[in-house]
Assembly symmetry: C2
Homo-oligomer: 584 residues x 2
Amino acid sequence: MNDRLRRYVPVLDWGRDYDRRTFSNDLVAAVIVTIMLIPQSLAYALLAGLPPEAGIYASIAPILLYAIFGSSRVLAVGPVAVVSLLTASAVGQVADQGTAGYAVAALTLAFLSGAFLILMGVLRLGFLANFLSHPVIAGFITASGILIATSQLKHILGISAHGHTLPQMLNSISQHLSEVNGTTMFIGVAATGFLFWVRRSLKPLVIRLGAPPLVADVMTKAGPVLAVVTTTVAVWMFGLDKQGVRIVGEVPQALPPLTLPGFTPDLINALLVPAILISIIGFVESVSVAQTLAAKKRQRIDPDQELIGLGAANIGAAFTGGYPVTGGFARSVVNFDAGAETPAAGAFTALGLAIAAVALTPLVYYLPNATLAATIIVAVLSLVDLSILKKTWAYSRADFLAVSATILLTLGLGVEVGVASGVAISVLLHLYKTSRPHVAEVGLVPGTQHFRNVLRHSVETDPALLTLRVDESLYFVNARFLEELIQRRVTEGCAIRNVVLMFSAVNEVDFSALESLEAINRRLADMGVGLALSEVKGPVMDRLERSHFIKDLNGKVYLSQHDAWLDLIGAPVTPAPDNPGTDT
Amino acid sequence: MNDRLRRYVPVLDWGRDYDRRTFSNDLVAAVIVTIMLIPQSLAYALLAGLPPEAGIYASIAPILLYAIFGSSRVLAVGPVAVVSLLTASAVGQVADQGTAGYAVAALTLAFLSGAFLILMGVLRLGFLANFLSHPVIAGFITASGILIATSQLKHILGISAHGHTLPQMLNSISQHLSEVNGTTMFIGVAATGFLFWVRRSLKPLVIRLGAPPLVADVMTKAGPVLAVVTTTVAVWMFGLDKQGVRIVGEVPQALPPLTLPGFTPDLINALLVPAILISIIGFVESVSVAQTLAAKKRQRIDPDQELIGLGAANIGAAFTGGYPVTGGFARSVVNFDAGAETPAAGAFTALGLAIAAVALTPLVYYLPNATLAATIIVAVLSLVDLSILKKTWAYSRADFLAVSATILLTLGLGVEVGVASGVAISVLLHLYKTSRPHVAEVGLVPGTQHFRNVLRHSVETDPALLTLRVDESLYFVNARFLEELIQRRVTEGCAIRNVVLMFSAVNEVDFSALESLEAINRRLADMGVGLALSEVKGPVMDRLERSHFIKDLNGKVYLSQHDAWLDLIGAPVTPAPDNPGTDT
């Protein structure tokens, strides 16, 4: 079989060894995941501002396509909380919730996101996701969790409110507080309390009662199903929908429909940037989960192939009435723990959800929105982890700054501004740190050939010789810093006749740094000071030799710092040449 | 005297030692610079789309203020070509040329630029200018030179044309070609030819005739004055202005007026980004010149003080009828070569220009715009240096990409997009390069304690021990790369029981990299593989010890790689712990 084809279509690989034992393991996992996904899919659709069936549809074709193209054996793809929030924020800017335009925009967003992911995968650009630093991701996920939980308060209280930032939401909620529906609030608060109890206390309780951990785990995950059934039955029995409790209502009893995303230039223009953002955030979340789970079985995933798998899943969502999807943390862990061995488990889950879409939708008619909101709130509050602030504060102030700025900007200005600023801040902080590299003045450790920092060690130095060890690659951001540093040192130390730059830790010299070195050489020459290099690495030297710098150097390049020391100590003043080229 | 005050107001420093010899040197330099500046100031005002006197005004108060606050002794501040072009581009977006709004917007631009520069100086943010890499600056200056020269063609041809990008300009010129004024074109072409001849051939000729280089130099710089006088007289004598030759016309005979910038929120909103761009580009140009000149006298400049000096100059321009200014290359070199010793030379130049503004403006009534355009074209074409393309191609493809993108985007989409894209491209290329650090698998050089790359040297290795030397600081951009690399190596080499990371070239481990190391440790533990570190630098170790990583490490931290080798070679399989924390 063609190896290249197998790389791009992993199903051809694992499909060959599929046997009965694997089949039964996959089937059991699929049943457990399906039960968990039904309320979750409805809830995330509500969060994205879409009709409930969109959540189910977004879990069927995407799972199948990921099973064919994805590289992780256990990742479960579908709607997730953060991507649903991002969808609501992006689509809310081009259409009003509940309109046909809103659903079409969500399809378009999924299509663009899928196309972008596939493009990145084919171009093997998976590494771009690395520009999101861990503190930015952690800050963003935490802030998103807070935003999502706040956005669901309106369903718990039975009021209408809106907004995409924390101040907007809180302000809107406070303006509508007088409209609170008591019955809705009772259901919402009870469901939330119950689900918190299930999550916190049920599992230890069941284990204490003697059940095996897997059973306890399944019971815990089934908590939302119980809440859904109980509140639905309550609404139906007591006719609570007539007392103003909002319910899911009619859900079409059908397989996912064939749908077409919109391709008008205006729509694409408005959604392209959010689509890219959703793609990258979804990809990062997905890859982290997939990598963690793969490592447990000494398997590995291929990030570029993951891009193609997730891209195919989103294209699938776009044409079958869904919205943007990615690999979810909770569902993947459940899938893994339940014993899934291959992506076929995902295919069986899709089948289970398809059956639910055809057969079970009438049963959720009386399901109150407040219950779905409660499941969302409980699920996302586990994402909120403010300990990242404490951890980064202890470890590095720069990382703390990145995480706190990301949290504040995401809460205050919305998810898109928040994550974009987080990336920009991380990059700027990194550039800032490397813009002032550690440069040590070194001297000879007596009796050895070693050179060490004059500030930390007792070393021999010579007033006529300044040796600087540069502890960073030289590139445009720190090139001028080196120029200024040498200028300052040499104008301060009038006895200096030679400067040696020790390049042992310089892994790269870019064109800007080359020009700075040329300027340093020229200026030192103007002052009658020589410039030499020592311990230049092979690849750096190869490159320097392609320029005029080595030829014009007002001194030599020494293999070792010790050679430089022997040659230059007590050296005579280098004659100043006649202003070479400074005036052109 | 208060040292802090003297740092912020350098005049208090050099003013104390001012004597008669310095005075006469400064005075001579001032006379030469004044003669050169009169036509140049008028020409650059034309380029900026402002009335000619704005160029003179922009050279008076700014020079005085820079003399007080600037740190360079010879930098000459005033209108320069690139900043004039940027002004035309920015102000052209909020007002039409020739309207009162246009002049006010130019004042506002100068004010915002000055305020931003002072702010950067007070916050000591001068290093931010380093984000402009040399290739980006070179590409931008070259493309600006081409844009400026093209923008002046309309004055040479005597037609109206407009546009801020090369395609726009060429298109507009071609549409108006039928309106070419023959007399104007004759003056323009003759003046351009004459000035090119002066620049290329006059200086060698005069030197060959026996004149000292300084005289030859002054004669060359006086070329524009001669062209101005000749063409003005020609227009006046033959009444060429009645044949459609556009002339400078009435220029108010007055000292710089007191003016007020506009402070409406709309105006500030529209001009803030261009003002920041102008500030940074002007600052970079200025600092390069000042540093080169200071080095020749073993003096140094203080970049943060330069920001304050240039900021004060721009605030001065804003309140005296000018527009954004910076330290000019040509004028500063002339000032230096003519023997200026202190900023007092600048003050005398300001006096000279003030006299010109009061007494000489009637003389330029008949000066044709075509002559001014010719002086601009000849001046800026010396900025165009396409050899940077060849140099960067030979040295580094990444730098070549940055410079060519900057040139093409500046020409095709305008100066602001061009320079912003150039910065973004440089930063991205740098991040890309560090995102895939060199990681070498090393082994023991027989008979020594040294460890070298297994691919380049004949070394001893042990199939159960994988030692990787990481040649880059670890931070968010390359953290995941290391995760994937180790995962791949370990899943491929099933005999591996211990992994050692040799940290000799790792200068930093940020929080993302810490989390990646923790993930690597956890995943290796899941596979029953140990993880050890060796040769960790002091500051890196200090930081790692502030986290749980060292405590949780499934192996030791060794002082030297040789210690690690002795300890781990032939080591038994590390037992896999019970999935520590992977599931949380």
